[in-house]
Symmetry: C2
Subunit: 407 residues, 2 copies
C-alpha cells in the first residue's frame, strides 16, 4: 500500500486552514472578516531592507555559503552587540527563517524518542517539528490566571525524565504574549545546567516587549554550552516573507552539527540576506524597529482595554509579542465558537476570525474555552473587531442556551 | 552529557569542505586553482528573473502561502505544459529549492527504518536527508564502463525488501551525467508498481540533455500514484541562490502530507518566487534556457575530448547535466589525489580542484579511483584545467612510485 509516513499522518495541520474555507464563504456572502487569527503584521517592511534587495549587485545568483553570507553574519553579530549580546562570527548561522533554526536545533540535539519540555500553551509548529524529528513534547502547564508565567521550578523539575533532552520556549511568547522575568529564565537555566539539558530560546519578538526588556538566554554565561538562540527578522522588520533567521550558540559541537545540516539544504536565499545587511547598515534601523514596536504597544493597550468590556472575559495584560490569549468561561469548544463566528454570525455585515485555543495545547481538554487574538490591525479596526467579537460571543451563548432549552 | 544527536553525528559532511582549506592555502601561495569540484554554474542569471525580483511590488513582505504564491504555481504549471507534462494547480507545491522537495518527499513517504533504493554513485545529500529521516540508503550499483546506466531490472528487484519504500534518482544525474533511457525509467516504474514503491525523480537538469530528451517520471500515467517529481530552477536558470524548487505529484495523500510539512516551515521566499513568474512570463524564457544549455553542450564536448588525452582515463560521454565522472586506474585514493593536487602540485602556477569519487558512493571501497569534474568554466579554461589535471596525475603517479621505491 502506498501510505504516507506515520509521522506526517500524525501532524495535526493548522486549525486556521480548517477554518479558512468558512472565512472565505463568509466573504463570498459579502461579510467583512476581521482577521485576528494570524501572526502576520500589516506594517510596511522598512525601505532600507527593500532597497537592499532591489539594489543587490548580483549577476550570477549562486549558492550563498551554507551558513550564510559573511556580510550578513557580520551584520547579525553587530545587531547582537548593540543588545550587549557578544557573539563571534562563527557562533551565528543564518537560517531559512526562525522555523529552520528551531528545526535544526531539535535535529542537532534530540534523538528519536527524546522528550522536549515546552511551556503550554505553545506555538503549534514546535510540535510539528518535534514530531517529524521523532520527539515527544512534554508540556509545562501554565495558566491564563497567572498571565502564563511559569509554575515553580520544582514543578517543572518533576517533569524531567532520563529521556528529557531540551527545554524549548519563545520569549516573549507566541501565543500568549508572556515575557518571562529574569528569575524565570535563570530558573530554567539552572534546571538545564543541573540536568544537562539543552535550552532553546526562540526570541523573534525580543523588541516587542512593552513592560521591561526581554531576557535573552544568551545573557546567562553559565549555560553557554547548553544555550541555543533561535531568532528571526520576520516580526521586528515586518518581513515574514524574507525567510531569514538565525541560530546562535557558543557550543562548538552544536555549531558543527548545524553546519552539517546547513550543508545538506545548501543555502538560505541570497537577496533577503543582502536586504538585511542594508537594513542593519542603515543608520535608521533602530528607529525603524522602534516605529514598529510603538505601533504594537499602542495596539496592545487598545485591544486589551477593549477586551475588558466583554462580560466574563479572563485575560491578563501580556508583556510582549502581538498576541493576547483570552478565556471566555461561557464557551466549551473554542473551535466550534470560532467556526460559529464565520458561519452563523454577523453584525452590520461584519464578523471576526480568531484562533481556537485548544490548538496551542497538547494536553487534552485544555484551551477549549480560550482563543488567541493577534493585534495586527490598526487601532480603530481592532476596537471594532473586539465589539464584533463581543456581539458574536453573546449570540453564540444565546444560541447554545436555545439549543439546550429545546432539548 | 550535552551530546549532539546520533543522526547528525553520523552525517559525513562534505568532502569539498574538508578540501577547501587546502585550496585556500594554495591560493595564498599564489597558485591559481581551477574549480572543477562544484555544481555552481558561472553563467549570469537571466535578466527577466532579476528584473522580476527588483520590480516586485511588495510593501509588506508577508508570509507567502505555504504551498507557494498562486501566480508562481500557475507559472510552473505553464512551464510543465510546454513540456507536455499536464499538472493541475493543486498538484504542484513550491519548495525552498529542490533540496526541500526531496527532503519533503522522503519525510512524506518513508518511516524510520525504511529503505530507499538509489543508483550509485549518487548526490551525497540524498544520504544526508535519508539519514536525518531515519532511512537506510540501499545503493543500486552502476558502473563507469556502462556510462552509469542501470543494471538489469532483475538485479535491482533483488535489492527490494519488505522495508523498501521508495526509489530515488536524479535524471539526468548529478554526479554522473547519465540520462536514463525510456526503457530504464519504464523499468523502474514497473518495479515501483509491482512492489508498491514510491518513485522519486529529481529532474533539475532536465533541459541539460545533449543526447536525446530527458524522460520525466510524470510521463508515465500508470505510476501516477507512485510518482513524485522533485524539481529546481537552480541549474536551468543559473539561479542556485534563489532557493526555488517544487514537488509535484498526482497522489492526493502525498499532496496532503506535503501540505502539512509546508505549513510547519511557513513559506518559501517571496522575491524569488516573483522573479520566477517574471522569467516564465517573458517571451524569451525558452531562448534564455537554450543559451545556457548550448553553453554546457559545447563545454561537455570540449571537456570530454580533453579528458581523452589523459593516459589510462576511463569515462563515457555523459548524456546530460554538467558533470563527468572519470576513472584514473593509476590512483587508489581519490581524496588523497585531490588533496595532493592542492598541497603538493602546481604547473606554471596553476592547479585544479576535483571532487573525490568515493564520496558519491555508500559502498565501501567504491569510487576510490574516480573523481567528478564539473564543466562550469568557459571552454578555454576547461581545456587548460584538464591539461593541469593531466600533469597533476602524472606527478602524483611519479611521487607514489618514488615513495614505493624508497620503501
Amino acid at each position: 500500500m502506498l501510505n504516507v509516513s506515520e509521522r506526517v499522518k500524525s501532524l495535526k495541520g493548522s486549525p486556521i486552514r480548517r477554518l479558512t474555507p468558512f472565512a472565505n464563504a463568509a466573504k463570498k456572502r459579502g461579510v467583512q472578516v476581521y482577521h485576528l487569527n494570524i501572526g502576520q503584521p500589516d506594517i510596511p517592511t522598512p525601505a532600507s531592507f527593500m532597497e537592499g534587495v532591489r539594489n543587490a549587485k548580483v549577476d550570477v545568483l549562486s549558492y550563498s555559503p551554507a551558513m550564510g553570507i559573511a556580510e550578513t553574519i557580520d551584520a547579525m553579530v553587530g545587531y547582537y552587540a548593540e543588545l550587549d549580546i557578544s557573539l563571534s562570527h562563527d557562533e551565528v548561522i543564518v537560517t531559512i527563517g526562525g522555523s529552520e533554526a528551531f528545526c535544526f536545533a531539535l535535529q542537532a540535539t534530540c534523538n528519536p524518542g527524546d522528550e522536549v519540555l515546552i511551556p503550554e500553551p505553545f506555538y503549534p509548529n514546535y510540535v510539528g517539528h518535534s514530531t517529524m524529528n521523532g520527539n515527544r513534547v512534554v508540556p509545562i502547564p501554565t495558566r491564563i490566571e497567572d498571565g502564563f508565567h511559569l509554575p515553580p521550578m520544582k514543578e517543572i523539575e518533576r517533569l524531567i525524565t532520563p529521556r528529557t533532552r531540551a527545554i524549548l520556549f519563545s520569549n516573549p511568547s507566541n501565543p500568549t504574549g508572556v515575557g518571562y522575568t529574569y528569575n524565570e529564565i535563570e530558573g530554567l537555566a539552572k534546571l538545564a545546567l543541573k540536568h544537562d539539558l539543552f535550552i532553546i530560546s526562540d526570541e523573534p519578538y525580543r523588541e516587542l516587549m512593552y513592560e521591561g526588556e526581554a531576557i535573552s538566554i544568551m545573557s546567562f554565561p553559565e549555560v553557554a554550552q547548553n544555550a541555543i538562540l533561535v531568532d528571526s527578522i520576520s516580526k521586528r522588520l515586518s518581513a515574514c516573507g524574507a525567510r531569514i533567521g538565525c541560530l546562535a550558540t557558543r557550543n562548538k559541537d552544536v555549531l558543527a552539527a548545524v553546519n552539517k545540516l546547513c550543508q545538506i539544504r545548501l543555502s538560505p536565499p541570497t537577496f533577503e540576506q543582502l536586504g538585511l545587511v542594508a537594513f542593519l547598515k542603515s543608520k535608521d534601523h533602530k528607529r525603524d524597529i522602534g516605529v514598529i514596536v510603538d505601533k504594537f504597544h499602542k495596539r496592545r493597550d487598545a485591544m486589551f482595554d477593549a477586551l475588558q468590556t466583554i462580560p466574563g472575559v479572563v485575560c491578563r495584560k501580556p508583556e510582549g509579542a502581538f498576541y493576547i490569549f483570552v478565556k471566555f468561561p461561557q464557551i466549551d469548544d473554542s473551535e466550534a465558537f470560532a467556526k460559529f463566528l464565520l458561519t452563523d454570525f454577523q453584525t452590520d455585515g461584519e464578523t471576526v476570525m480568531v484562533a481556537p485555543g485548544a490548538d496551542f495545547y497538547a494536553t487534552p481538554g485544555r484551551g477549549t474555552n480560550e482563543v488567541r487574538v493577534a493585534y495586527v490591525l490598526e487601532e480603530p479596526k481592532l476596537v471594532r473587531a473586539v465589539e464584533v467579537l463581543k456581539a458574536g460571543l453573546a449570540a453564540y451563548v444565546e444560541e447554545k442556551a436555545g439549543v439546550a432549552a429545546a432539548r
